[in-house]
Symmetry: D2
Subunit: 380 residues, 4 copies
């Protein structure tokens, strides 16, 4: 239950071991087309260019930025954690005009403040991390995005820890969004997946990036050809991962995106009430909670490495921290993708026993009872 | 969490889809040899004939009986449930001298009573079901078997719901024992697996059975050849299942049989204390509990079909009853094979929510708390 | 390329490793129903009872005989090889009135002779092996069966090496037929698969067999229930194999039975012309060739074990002989199931090189050329 | 039989569907470590930095170049086909000083000419494509590389269509080499795999690239940590592909690199003699043939699309051309990885039948005979 790679459905894993189609074959072209079309749906996009390119989420960051700036473009990074801060590092390679807006730890970015900055600042591009995996803080993309519809400024959303698990739509006013296969899309790691909207496409067509592999102008031709069910070549696609992506997207749409998001909300709530009941403190402030990940401090005297290894032995693998100063003081529970009540009980059960094992006073079952109430109420 | 087919380890399932070896190949002969040798270990057998034959557990019953009687042999069936009673039906085809000893529902057979019957009765063969899957009653094979060492009477133990999960040894005095792959051996259904001891081998070599496919005299030659790492033929083995059996036996021996049985005991205890805490009543009497399955009555007003389908929706598949008169009044939780604390929490969580959903007054989390205490105490 | 286990399609093998459904689940009941219905189609049966029972083909033999005789019924076994002779052995357990009709080695049985014997002899049951895997001789079931429509005598056909690869229909007048999963049905070994027609059902309903596991009267209730998409229990089905069977039957019907048989014919012909071109002599006489297996003598001075192990190293696994007197003098090439031109070339290529390696004078490529002509002519 | 994705071993594909390890887990760290160490061996590298990064071979090109030049570095591209020419395109993004040396189509580059150019020209970096997949021309890396040992100029070798199938060693004087998983390494597409030698490491440590995802300075820390069996993070590795890579590298080393290259040589020779026998003309000149791919012109009146689709129907998928002017006039047979005599016969058999089908006069079996001779002579 780390925040990705998550546990994958049998049918998705099984698709990984299908004999590899020739990337030029009719069969694969149809599958890739289907996967790209369904990517559009999951991103809530009516128009634009979807992609699924061999690489990690970090490649998605590069794709989503290097293609949409010129040398020394003015950039605003909205950072609510480690992955927000990464954008600063990334942009510094391409531009000297990078600024960061950092709300206090645990707080969402204020949409109005962004709007004010942007309307005054003359930014070419703004990035926001929907859910920062390091802090568990979720930003209000819907409110932020609506300002951008009428602006030239390009809005890039890092949806790595959200898309497929949180409510999201390109149509809110988002120009560029991306995620990684191994998160809420439910596919093993190895694909950067994203959508580029019309405003951003217009920009990139006029402005060549300095990078090569992430050059979306080249990819656009390839992807548009595959979207017609025909093959094209720039780089051999990660065929087996694309096939697995198609299987997973089919399962996502079969469940229904609304049902899926609702399920993530309920599972997240059941975990949160349990964690609260056990007396732990969250990093995200009230109202900034994500539905894909829960991030909370450990009790004072509980050593992180001991807690994590005990929890693993007790049946649940959690992740440590990523935010430099406090990385050893908190832990993270991922609950994305195929998460059900079963994983909730396993996780909370392991948290309880591992906390007690490490000297924290906890009444075993207290968190579980709280989780059960939420699950029961929602008929899960 | 029905009492078989259970959930199987990834590596076991993965072995099922390996390209099928020729049954005459060196590779398969070595694997079959290895699987047979390890079957001996898991059955606690120092000498005798192990087998793994394509078929269901029901074939195991036929193999374990048809080979060890003559027409109208005198047979005693110790029955503690539905599967005990089946032996009566089975033997009636071959003999007119079949008697049954049926302790009251939920009670173990009394070893002394068996001894008395056998020493007086002149029985050729006695069958005992170790754990009857229908009632969850476990018999005390160790105590029963020790009398048989010095008798001509052949003792057959149905280990379908026990071997690989309960303490068991052929060396206690058992002459014939069998199980099915899909139970505590952790392999998908399709193999009857068993061991025949020296006394029983001597008998069968002199007495041809009326059946054909289950004729162990023919199989013996085949199996002994494979045990030398060479191929022989009577019927094409279920190659993929044998390969999966070998993988599973390796995992069982890697865990260690003692550790495995200890794990089954703790998981069984954690489920039992939870069930008790929820106010349900077991069919087995105190001291007759199995470690592989828990069998309990539903509360008066809870309808079985509703309860089972709700529990399934809540994450756990349980089994209904099998004992004719009361089959709709109880349910069964299988906990065999790779069972861990995770499945315990899932099962109890689902029981709680499904009971409440069906109008039973239950404090959500109460059973889970009790289970957690047992798991914590045992560091699981 | 032994005559089973054969090479299986990826999707069939992949189905083997799907997490095992509960045998009582709705999902499995639907799959089992579907597999049974499609078994009827592949057996060319309009009415009757289809089955797929955990066990080897040898179990199929027992099922197909023990259920259709009384003690000391009069039985005629038409034997064109090792597997025909096995029936004699099998029946001897149940009856003292077993006769065999054995055409000369390599020859088909003469339908008229069978008719004469049967019309005079008062036989209760007659068995014919469609294709005897040991000799490669194919009997003319269509001609043989038509006599039986108006007789009380039950006609049992061993279709182990034929059904799914050779033209066959229960409606010709066959009362009982069976095969094993690992042959032309294209599923790993572990299932006996068959169909019982109305005349045979009537018989078995009145006459209990002495066996237990193979008692079709019990199975009938179970199978009829599954055929309504509901679960029933006598023995736990080999769930994963049934799921794989369903996948394979779907592929068979997608190809179309006629196309499939046509393909077997062409592949068989291409192998036969190649073998002839290389100067080898077949066991079956002209007109008795099977389309699922080719059986031919080795040249005088070629040692079977050397030839087989060289051929294996060169890419093709063949089988040795089974007919007692000559078992070391011939070899068998199975070509069932997913056989294509690729396997033909691999097989003939390996035969050529292995023959030459063992001192036989052969012009490399001569057999391949002959095979190519047949493949080319048929656009394969 | 396209030049990648190739057909993969069952165990490699099966590894793809193993439940995904946490990338931070001990298990995965050990596997990644092992895979990196074995990558060094397959690249014939005694020192340096191995990598396996989520992405296509095209990412490998970027990694292998962007890290080893400064803005406007002087670069020489040795191009023997389409993939050589790609480097010119790639470098043009980073430098204005890019030159190409293009031997006539089908000819190897002359090592002496390269040496002369480099010793005079003051190049910072030179790229050579070992085997250009588009032309089938193999360059003599051993001769070319030896000059570079004493030069500051960095030699980059594109080993995409060679490493794992052709003789190759970093120790010859190569500074940077890379390939893609889906070629002779035998792993589905999705990994760029390479090694960076000491001279190149020294350069890159002083010169930051403009790209982000392909920045080896960042990756170096991560990879060096994994090489100690510990986890580190820059981007989530393509866990399942790394696990599959490790399985494949183990199989490669089990076969032995020398044996593997020898096998590629013999299979290539058997295909070449067959193609020659059929009267087709190769693009590579005598002595420039690769062992991993065969590239030949189609006969004048044979239409490529018809030929390719017929060949596919006849059992072998080949690839069309890539070199702009003549792309429809030739076809390519990939023979990398697990290639055996079986694939040779399938390929040549399909070529023969598809040529004849398209009106070319060909004696069926002639190519196969020639191939058989080579296979026989080499005991394959």
């Amino acid at each position: 239950m780390i925040p990705g790679p998550i546990e994958y459905e049998h049918d998705v894993l099984s698709a990984m071991s299908k004999p590899t189609y020739a990337h030029t074959s009719k069969e694969f072209s149809e599958i890739f087309k289907d996967a790209l079309e369904k990517t559009m749906i999951v991103f809530g996009a009516k128009e634009g260019l979807p992609y699924a390119i061999a690489g990690s989420g970090t490649l998605g960051m590069e794709i989503s930025t290097a293609n949409f700036i010129k040398k020394d473009s003015k950039v605003l990074v909205v950072s609510t954690g480690y992955f927000g801060d990464r954008f600063v590092d990334l942009f510094s390679r391409f531009s000297k005009n990078v600024e960061a807006y950092r709300p206090p730890l645990g707080s969402q970015a204020d949409p109005k403040q962004i709007y004010e900055k942007v309307s005054k600042g003359g930014y070419d591009l703004v990035t926001v991390t929907h859910v920062d995996t390091s802090s568990g803080v979720r930003n209000n993309i819907k409110e932020i995005a609506k300002f951008f519809r009428d602006l030239d400024t390009i809005l890039v959303v890092d949806g790595v820890c959200s898309i497929g698990g949180e409510d999201f739509s390109m149509e809110w006013g988002v120009d560029v969004a991306f995620t990684a296969s191994q998160k809420a899309l439910g596919v093993p790691p190895g694909l950067a997946v994203g959508v580029v909207g019309p405003k951003a496409i217009k920009f990139m067509e006029k402005n060549p990036p300095l990078t090569f592999y992430s050059d979306l102008r080249i990819w656009q031709n390839v992807l548009r050809t595959y979207m017609q069910g025909k093959a094209a070549y720039f780089a051999t696609p990660a065929v087996n991962l694309i096939v697995a992506l198609d299987v997973s997207l089919n399962m996502i749409l079969k469940e229904g995106i609304e049902n899926r998001i609702k399920r993530h909300q309920i599972m997240a709530e059941s975990i949160r009430v349990a964690i609260k009941e056990l007396g732990l403190k969250f990093i995200p402030k009230e109202g900034s909670y994500a539905n894909t990940i829960s991030v909370q401090y450990l009790p004072e005297n509980v050593k992180q490495t001991d807690f994590l290894s005990d929890a693993e032995r007790f049946g649940a693998v959690f992740a440590g921290g990523l935010i430099p100063d406090i990385k050893e003081k908190y832990f993270r529970i991922g609950h994305m993708g195929s998460i059900t009540s079963s994983e909730v009980l396993i996780a909370i059960g392991a948290v309880e026993r591992a906390l007690k094992k490490n000297g924290y006073k906890v009444e075993l079952g207290k968190g579980l009872s709280a989780a059960q109430e939420v699950l029961y109420k929602n008929s899960y």
